[in-house]
């Protein structure tokens, strides 16, 4: 260490080194950021400039440059000419292009070959890889998906939209969130007309998905319905008639009491009457099903909470009562547990999605109740046989996308009958939304006929339904409700007090949001007879 370097020289060298490192890091970062920004315009420019887009669609990318026909265009001119001709006439006449089959949709999207779409999906149920691959192969449009944790969809999408990040072309949105997101989504009414969405027969229960304030913002993709599953053999043993299952909640409770703690399988294990869904996150839906048939509603027409009305309190008292015929750890049971218990043959009644029927009937390794159960729509209560529609997932086109029509076509593809059947048969848990899907023979082969739920599925939405309220504050309202319900179930609070407390929280939330200001739109009361 006996060098004689001038002091300033080595200091400069050191600082230079740091500066270089800093610039290197910063530079790569900036390049990375820019790289992403430049990607989108570049890809849209490479689309084969073949057909003209329908006049109805806005913001179509550089494809409108109807330049010299490329070789790719030549191959598809036959079909695309037909579809685009129809499209342009559609703008004029309104008869619309038919996209009844998957092939038609794929054809319509071929003209966008070379583009890229980004789709946000619900974390646990992304579209099948096979489905995405088929799309890419047939249309030449690449589809990139981003998974969002199911519990975080509301937060992440809100942050995404409010920050104008513009990451997504398509988003998977749960029904109750349309109120919050509508300002950031494209109204699909026009596109629906162009592409004859009316011809698609949606299951009754799902028709309201995506509708908000007169506009239509989503294509129903995954429809959820609750049904009551019951053990037919146990019903017979306690004196019931499997062909005429209990029709009201009180009947169900009576039968559950008869079943509870009895050794109905003859193997020494005590039966459980009814397994409830009481774990905190999402338990409000378990309450909602009762609220519907007890004749309750969320608000009165002036947005005053009606949840603590006599009907509401009665509904909660009934739900809490189920604990007495439930398993010891009722308070922490979630969805997955319900399936597990029913398939293991431990429970007499559960309230679950229709997909449980498939598992119970066809999963030979896990199900012990094959041929021993029945499905019915949820029982009637003091308020009639009103069903609750839990909402599901819809695909929405964002406002920030530069490829509205393409995104729309992709949404139609993912929701169309063939795709829905493929996914249902593969057991992804995505429930089809179109009547034709339920009538599809492949679907029925997997889901069965009669014993299972698809007939019920058709039936349920035909009467009155209680919907969720798609206002922006819904997540907050639901969270407050979940909390107090959970407290009521675990005995920390009495049902009436719990609901009163919820009503208070709701009033505060809505007040802060300005719902009680003069001139605010009224609430469309749902329990009018």
């Amino acid at each position: 260490m006996r060098e004689r370097k001038p002091a300033s020289f080595s200091r400069r060298r050191f600082l230079k080194g740091v500066a270089v490192a800093g610039v290197a890091i910063g530079g790569t970062g900036i390049l990375a950021a820019c790289g992403d920004a430049t990607a989108t315009p570049a890809t849209t420019n490479t689309t084969s400039a073949a057909a003209t887009t329908a006049a109805a669609t806005t913001a179509a990318p550089a494809t409108t440059a109807a330049g010299a026909a490329t070789t790719a265009a030549a191959a598809t001119t036959a079909s695309s000419a037909a579809t685009t001709a129809a499209a342009t006439t559609a703008a004029a006449t309104g008869t619309g292009t038919s996209l009844k089959t998957k092939a038609a949709i794929l054809d319509a999207a071929k003209k966008y070959s070379g583009s890229k779409l980004v789709l946000s999906v619900v974390g646990t149920s992304p579209p099948l890889k096979a489905v995405i691959d088929e799309w890419t192969k047939a249309t030449g449009v690449s589809l990139e998906t981003t998974a969002i944790p199911p519990n975080e969809i509301f937060e992440k999408l809100t942050l995404n939209f409010t920050s104008d990040a513009g990451n997504f072309d398509l988003v998977s949105v749960t029904s109750s969130n349309f109120g919050a997101f509508a300002p950031y989504l494209t109204d699909l009414t026009q596109l629906n007309t162009t592409y004859n969405f009316d011809e698609v027969q949606l299951v009754n229960m799902f028709k309201w998905y995506g509708k908000y304030n007169g506009g239509s913002y989503g294509i129903p993709y995954d429809g959820d319905q609750y049904m009551l599953f019951y053990r037919t053999d146990w019903l017979k043993k306690v004196g019931g008639d499997p062909a005429n299952p209990p029709a009201t909640w009180d009947d169900v409770f009576a039968i559950a009491q008869k079943m509870h703690n009895q050794d109905l399988d003859g193997n020494g294990t005590k039966a459980i009457g009814f397994a409830p869904r009481m774990s905190r996150v999402g338990t409000w839906q378990f309450f909602a099903t009762k609220l519907a048939s007890f004749g309750g509603d969320w608000f009165d027409e002036n947005w005053q909470p009606a949840i603590n009305s006599a009907a509401g309190v009665a509904a909660l008292e009934y739900a809490a009562k189920l604990k007495s015929v439930g398993p010891a750890n009722s308070v922490s049971i979630g969805f997955a547990d319900l399936d597990k218990m029913f398939l293991a043959g431990q429970v007499g009644f559960i309230e679950q999605f229709s997909t449980t029927a498939t598992k119970a009937q066809f999963d030979k390794t896990n199900s012990k109740v094959i041929d021993k159960f029945g499905v019915m729509k949820l029982p009637a209560g003091p308020g009639g046989s009103r069903q609750y529609s839990p909402g599901g997932v819809s695909l929405a086109v964002t406002k920030s996308t530069k490829q509205q029509e393409l995104a729309y076509l992709c949404a139609r593809y993912l929701a169309c009958e063939e795709t829905a059947v493929t996914q249902a048969v593969a057991g992804t848990g995505v429930e089809p939304t179109m009547v034709t899907a339920y009538n599809n023979p492949d679907f029925q082969a997997k889901w069965g006929d009669g014993k299972t739920s698809w007939k019920v599925a058709m039936d349920e939405g035909s009467g009155k339904i209680l919907k969720q309220i798609p206002i922006p504050e819904f997540a907050a309202l639901q969270e407050a409700l979940d909390l107090k319900l959970s407290e009521a179930y675990s005995g920390q609070t009495k049902p009436k007090d719990a609901l009163d407390s919820v009503a208070n929280s709701w009033k505060q939330i809505l007040d802060k949001a300005g719902y009680y200001a003069a001139g605010h739109a009224k609430y469309e009361v749902q329990n009018k007879s």
Partner: protein
């Protein structure tokens, strides 16, 4: 003050002060008494190990389970039927490899940045006495008192303004918030440990302050730097909330977000996939820290004990 150069070397076997003399290794007096005592010690350690390792073994076991074995009775730590479905599903359908890559990039980038900035800063706090240095370092400590939740939204807005939302650079910068207080605090401790005489000796020999820094201080600080960077890296690797808010697409989402997206109260949580991804993501951290274990223990208390 005596030079404690031995502190800088990896841990050698020193007799433990609290262990009675006759129980230390190598002594032959009172062999049976020692045997009884040692057995008790081993028993205690065994219990502690069981407590520590059983949950870990459960995690590893779940990664190889079939869904029906999640709730088998009796619970199986080692699954009766080994299945790699969790792994294939996570890395196939859910593209876990991409998330791992993001995590690696984010962790490496933010750790390097934190160490560079932290080295300079902690050296300054340690060596230079200037107005406000005490306040500044206390302020840094106070930063750690803030729950991430409250800082998240302003951070979100700042990054949005800078255009760094959903970029690796943005997340790396955000991580500094979490890493820097620890890094500066730890390394300041190490610097405090290093007697100033060494640098002064170097300067007498003709090095500049920075030359002394580079040639004398840094090599001696090596174990401390390693310990600090391991700690900082683990912090960045495990961070969930900041990426949750500040990343939006698969381009930048790290592993904790993937794990969170496997949790679905409605359709059923994918336990095997969660465990599979966790197991794979623990491996690098584990390997690295096991290697550095000697340095780690020595390094982490270098400053604290003297403080």
């Amino acid at each position: 003050m005596a030079l404690k150069l031995q502190e800088a070397r990896p841990q050698e076997i020193r007799p433990s002060a609290t262990v009675p003399k006759e129980n230390r290794l190598g002594l032959t007096r009172g062999r049976w008494k020692r045997f009884g005592y040692n057995s008790l010690v081993y028993l205690g350690v065994l219990f502690f190990m069981a407590w520590t390792l059983i949950p870990l073994l459960w995690l590893i076991g779940t990664a190889f389970k079939l869904p029906r074995d999640y709730t088998a009775d009796p619970p199986q730590i080692i699954p009766s039927e080994i299945s790699f479905d969790g792994f294939t599903n996570a890395f196939g359908n859910f593209n876990a490899g991409n998330y791992l890559l993001n995590s690696i990039l984010i962790t490496a980038g933010s750790t390097v940045l934190a160490i560079v900035i932290g080295l300079l800063a902690s050296y300054s706090f340690s060596r230079f006495k200037f107005r406000g240095s005490r306040a500044a370092s206390l302020g840094l400590l106070a930063l750690r008192m803030f729950p991430v939740v409250v800082l998240a939204i302003p951070l979100f807005i700042i990054l949005k303004t800078l255009g760094l939302l959903n970029t690796l650079v943005g997340i790396i910068l955000a991580m500094q918030l979490i890493q820097l207080p620890y890094v500066v605090w730890m390394m300041k401790g190490f610097f405090d440990d290093l007697p100033i005489e060494l640098e002064e000796a170097g300067q007498v020999d003709g090095c500049t302050r920075l030359g002394a820094f580079r040639r004398i201080v840094l090599p001696l600080m090596a174990p401390g730097i390693v310990a600090t960077s391991t700690f900082a890296a683990v912090l960045a690797w495990n961070e969930f909330f900041l990426p949750l808010l500040l990343t939006q697409t698969d381009k930048t989402q790290p592993v904790p977000l993937l794990v969170a997206s496997f949790v679905d109260p409605a359709k059923g949580t994918l336990w095997a996939e969660i465990s599979a991804v966790s197991v794979v993501s623990i491996l690098p951290v584990l390997a690295f820290s096991l290697m550095m274990q000697r340095f780690l223990v020595r390094g982490l208390t270098g400053g604290a004990v003297k403080g």
